[in-house]
């Protein structure tokens, strides 16, 4: 019997088509896995099932019944529960209050009723914490157990878990997977989003693969091959259009030894002049901490970082938050870094700005990268692609010897992507060392001379002979760790 049928769901956010005809079927008593790259539409799909996202078109059936979900209230009523990636608990309230939140019942809710209601649930689901504890004081794994218990206590029979293992340590993952099998025995249906193949083969019955908002395949899990899933997830229909730069590799420009800060464990790397060294991997395996360490804004627990050949420039992975000052103009953003550092950019003299120079250099950047904007346009008003090009232009201003680029083409259209990649390739050909941290496998294959995969905080080098989509896809899923 089918508990859930999602058919032909479409949803557009601004210029991004998050869902493009995605679908999914979950049978009764089944643990169903949902697999896909970042941005494939997994989260949007489950949020549609929970009534938080309103699909533009398509249908949702629950137990054969066509439903219109106006919100989580409706979904819960139908027995659908979602445990979000970022927990939906109120940390300021107690465990008991969180368990009672949204429950129907009498008008009054005194402390005693609150406590006994909570104690019952905590006992039934074997959770060993006090009802009056503030949720903010729980560990991540405890919060997750609490969320799952809350959903089940509310009569949820179709439980959706959005990347539940991303926040857990291995022993906690094991007990979560155990819990999922127990739920299946009790007749619950579970939809389990994960990137990690070992988890999928450990507990799931079937897997649906999503790519670019569409479902690519649904397969029975027993007997499936790692290679096949990796291939399905990243797709292999598009040949990489560009080639890695062909240059003479020079001396080391940046060296890191044993970088350790959670979740990074002893990351060693060397970046040489004239090469593109790419770090591939699925988001959440330590990319952001690595970027922060390299940018010098995160303290290391141990390890060392040596910039052999300055200057170093960084293209931030989050252009809106750390890359740009959105309220300032394009021209001001270009010179901000140097001006703030107390450097002597040609646009300033005696600490005073020279408007004509500022305008001239901004116009030069606009022309070079094909940015569609005026020099003094506030950056906030520009498209993501144009914003990204400003970040690139700024990074290249001082002809860096070491250049770090984090997801430099995320969210850009095909043309802007090609432009940015050409710019980066040209930097390596000029003799700079480029460290590319990217979750986009196409990008890695297109640009890199040398590749390593970041998985759960560790770096796994990939031999040149293994620079294939299939092999790297496998490593991204934990193929080397298994």
């Amino acid at each position: 019997m089918l508990r859930v049928e999602l058919t032909e769901l479409r949803k557009r956010f601004g210029s991004v088509q998050a869902l493009d005809g995605a679908g999914l079927e979950i049978a009764a008593g089944e643990v169903h896995a949902l697999l896909g790259e970042n941005g494939a539409g997994k989260t949007t799909l489950v949020r549609a099932l929970y009534g938080v996202v309103r699909p533009d078109s398509g249908s949702i059936r629950i137990d054969g019944e066509l439903v219109q979900l106006r919100g989580p209230r409706d979904a819960l009523e139908l027995g659908v529960g979602l445990v979000h990636q970022h927990f939906m608990l109120v940390p300021e309230l107690s465990v008991a209050e969180n368990l009672a939140l949204g429950e129907r019942g009498g008008l009054l809710l005194g402390p005693r009723a609150l406590r006994s209601h909570a104690a019952g649930i905590l006992e039934r689901y074997d959770l060993g914490f006090r009802p009056d504890l503030r949720v903010g004081e729980l560990s991540v794994a405890q919060k997750q157990r609490l969320e799952i218990a809350r959903a089940l206590s509310r009569g949820v029979e179709i439980l959706v878990l959005d990347e539940p293992t991303a926040v857990l340590v291995p022993s906690e993952i094991d007990s979560l997977l155990e819990l999922l099998s127990r739920l299946r025995e009790q007749g619950c249906s579970v939809l389990f989003i994960s990137h990690k193949l070992d988890e999928i083969t450990a507990v799931c019955d079937r897997v649906t693969v999503l790519r670019n908002g569409r479902n690519v395949a649904t397969r029975e899990v027993p007997g499936i091959e790692l290679r096949e899933l990796g291939e399905l997830m990243v797709g292999s229909e598009l040949p990489p259009p560009g080639q890695p730069p062909r240059t003479q590799v020079g001396p080391v420009v940046l060296r890191a030894r044993g970088l350790t800060t959670p979740p990074l464990v002893g990351v060693d790397l060397e970046l040489r002049a004239g090469e593109v060294f790419a770090i591939a991997g699925i988001d959440g395996n330590g990319q952001t901490p690595l970027e922060e360490v390299l940018a010098g804004v995160r303290v290391l627990e141990s390890g060392s970082l040596e910039l052999v050949q300055p200057p170093l420039a960084l293209i931030s992975g989050d252009r809106q938050r750390t890359g740009l000052v959105l309220g300032l103009g394009l021209d001001e953003n270009l010179v901000l870094e140097e001006a703030a550092r107390g450097g002597a950019p040609p646009e300033y003299r005696f600490g005073l700005v020279r408007p004509r120079e500022l305008r001239r250099s901004a116009s030069a950047a606009i022309e070079r990268l094909g940015i569609r904007a005026a020099p003094d346009d506030p950056v906030r008003t520009l498209s993501g692609g144009n914003q990204q090009k400003i970040c690139v232009a700024r990074a290249l201003r001082r002809d860096p010897c070491a250049l770090i680029a984090v997801n430099p083409t995320r969210g850009l259209d095909v043309r802007a992507t090609a432009q940015v990649r050409d710019e980066l390739r040209a930097q390596a050909e000029r003799g700079a060392g480029l460290l590319l941290i990217s979750t986009d496998l196409d990008e890695v294959l297109e640009l890199a001379n040398r590749i390593a995969v970041l998985f759960r905080g560790q770096l796994y080098p990939v031999a040149p002979a293994e620079h294939t989509r299939e092999r790297i896809g496998e490593l991204m899923l934990g193929g080397a760790a298994a």
Binding site: F13, G71, P91, E92, L93, A100, L101, L109
Partner: protein, 293 residues
């Protein structure tokens, strides 16, 4: 006249009650996640309505009711901008305060031209010395708001909406309804506080007669740590300081009266700031919430 006697206690209650009532309105709104800066304006609207209905009907009950309802109307105007159109609450509240000051002043002059003899608003008399219906009403209001927030299912939903609107929504709490409800109820409290000023304290309407009491209520909520009991203590302190400085003025000491006028504000701020310690506002206070994408 002595400096301290029972009269001072009565005067304290009289000065504290409107503040406490207005602060309860602000507390409700803020706990649901709405920063209602317009409490002063809502009080003023309530005061004028209470005066108009009071002089017309002679009924203090009808006048109080009119004050509350006008407060609700003003709060609805605020909510339309802030909750529905997602305007900035600070700007909207400031605009509402300025609008209320101008509108009540103009309306008063239109309704009561100087050449027409003006009758007093009906006074709400004490039941027993010091025991005014408004004192009882305010006490009930404080206990009621406190009990609502702590001991009811709806109160839990309100607190969750103020702390983490998205989390509350994901558990089926109607965040928008909670915020609208609390904002309107807060307007009723503010309107009632305005009516108290007219029906109990001055028996007439004066332009701008709230003279910053709405802002004092706002400060009381913050420094009282969002707890009804502490907020009332703060209101009583302010009332006592104010009553005392009136006495000191009456004693004719050679202290500039402006300095005396200032002391209650200063004292309240100082004491509350000492007790405030680590006051934590609701996490989602003044953050707009969008239920569906």
């Amino acid at each position: 006249m002595d400096l301290f006697d029972l009269g001072l206690v009565f005067a304290t209650l009289r000065l504290a009650a409107p503040l406490a009532a207005a602060a309860m309105g602000e507390l409700l709104a803020e706990r649901s996640g709405v920063l209602n800066i317009g409490i002063e304006g809502m009080m003023l609207c309530g005061a004028l309505a209470a005066f108009a209905i009071g002089t017309a009907t002679g009924s203090p009950v009808l006048a109080s009711l009119a004050g509350s309802l006008t407060g609700v109307a003003a709060a609805a105007l605020f909510a339309v901008f802030v909750l529905w159109r997602r305007a900035d609450p600070i700007v909207t509240g400031t605009a509402l305060n300025l609008f209320a000051l101008g509108a009540t002043g103009s309306a008063y002059r239109l309704l009561y031209p100087p050449e027409v003899p003006l009758s007093d608003a009906p006074a709400v008399a004490d039941w027993l010395p010091g025991l005014n219906p408004f004192v009882v009403g305010t006490a009930l209001l404080v206990v009621g708001v406190g009990a609502f927030l702590s001991y009811t299912r709806a109160g839990l939903a309100v607190r969750a909406a103020g702390e983490r609107a998205e989390a509350a929504h994901s558990q089926g709490v109607r965040v928008a309804a909670a915020r609208w409800g609390c904002t309107l109820a807060g307007g009723a409290c503010a309107g009632l506080a305005g009516a108290m000023l007219v029906l109990w304290i001055s028996n007439t309407f004066v332009e701008g007669m709230t003279s910053g009491r709405g802002f004092v209520a706002l400060a009381l909520v913050l420094f009282g740590g969002y707890r009804p009991g502490r907020i009332v203590l703060g209101a009583l302190l302010f009332g006592a300081a104010n009553a005392l400085q009136f006495r000191l003025q009456a004693l004719g000491l050679e202290i500039p009266y402006a300095l005396l006028l200032m002391t209650p504000y200063l004292l309240t701020l100082l004491v509350l700031a000492l007790f405030a310690g680590r006051v934590r506002a609701p996490s989602d206070l003044a953050r707009p919430f969008i239920a569906r994408e």
